[in-house]
Subunit: 161 residues, 2 copies
Amino acid sequence: MTTTQELTQAEAAYVDEIAEFFVGEGLPLIAGRVIGWLLISDPPEQTPAQLTAALQVSRSSISSAMRLLTPSGLVERTRRRGDRSEYFRIAPEGWSRMLMRRYSQTTAFREVTERGLELLAGAEPARRERLEQVTDLYRFLESELPALLERWRSRQQGGRP
Amino acid sequence: MTTTQELTQAEAAYVDEIAEFFVGEGLPLIAGRVIGWLLISDPPEQTPAQLTAALQVSRSSISSAMRLLTPSGLVERTRRRGDRSEYFRIAPEGWSRMLMRRYSQTTAFREVTERGLELLAGAEPARRERLEQVTDLYRFLESELPALLERWRSRQQGGRP
DNA sequence: CAGTCGTTGCAGTAATAACTGCAACGACGG
DNA sequence: CCGTCGTTGCAGTTATTACTGCAACGACTG
């Protein structure tokens, strides 16, 4: 049986604080709350049923939220052996995975600006200058950001062979 | 007099391509189009009137878009001496300024996760672990990202005392 | 096979947001 | 002082989206 978990006032407030942040990032409210709760929930792994109980929302909403959150790599599904139910949790590598993904649109944008330079192929240099500058910047980021995250990841597991 | 500027089909398509990208980032469509057009417009500086003509939108929308775009530092207002009208353009330092601003929410988020650790002050280490990990990551980024951008900026103007 | 659990799709509602068009305002140049 | 230009606020329209509740489905357990 699943013990229906009640959030304390402080916990609920904190979950909303986290949610508010991700809403600002473009996520729907419930998805933000899921992240918030998964960050502080007492068992770090939570079944969909537990999430609906804790956050007081419909099962559909939880399901939609997970469909939204898992592709980014922040939240992942786990199963326990001998347990049919599914668990969700914040992936240990979730944050860096999420950032990796976000940084990958750096590449997407650079491709767009390069296409702009093709469009202005015949134009005077002065007109092309803006696109050239931003292309340069994004190329720079594209080469540096993955290395940055890699540096962090190796520092995290540092010393472990 | 303001020459009413017609965008070629290719230009309009490219403006929309850029706009689509920024819509994905959460910007309204028109603001995205303004960025797109300011990236390739023949005079890089454009008056509000020129923008309404080029993008075929109401003056209100242009005004709102500028109110939205200028605080981030991407777009800036310029004036020419002896010319009462106002010009907008992509700021030369606009992109790095915009990224600076975006990175600053790294700090905001770290503060939220730290507040979470206060909330879980009495909890077992296993429960605090998630928040500790993400706090560590964001502290790392917080220290590295500004340096990264600074490196680019100095590389841009390299050699100039 | 019966029961449970999670997913998915759909209809309906409510809230939000973008955009337009209009009107009023202030600043400035001729 | 008149005309132009940009800004701002507001009403109204339209489109989008989040969320709920329900129903159907498949997978798996006991």
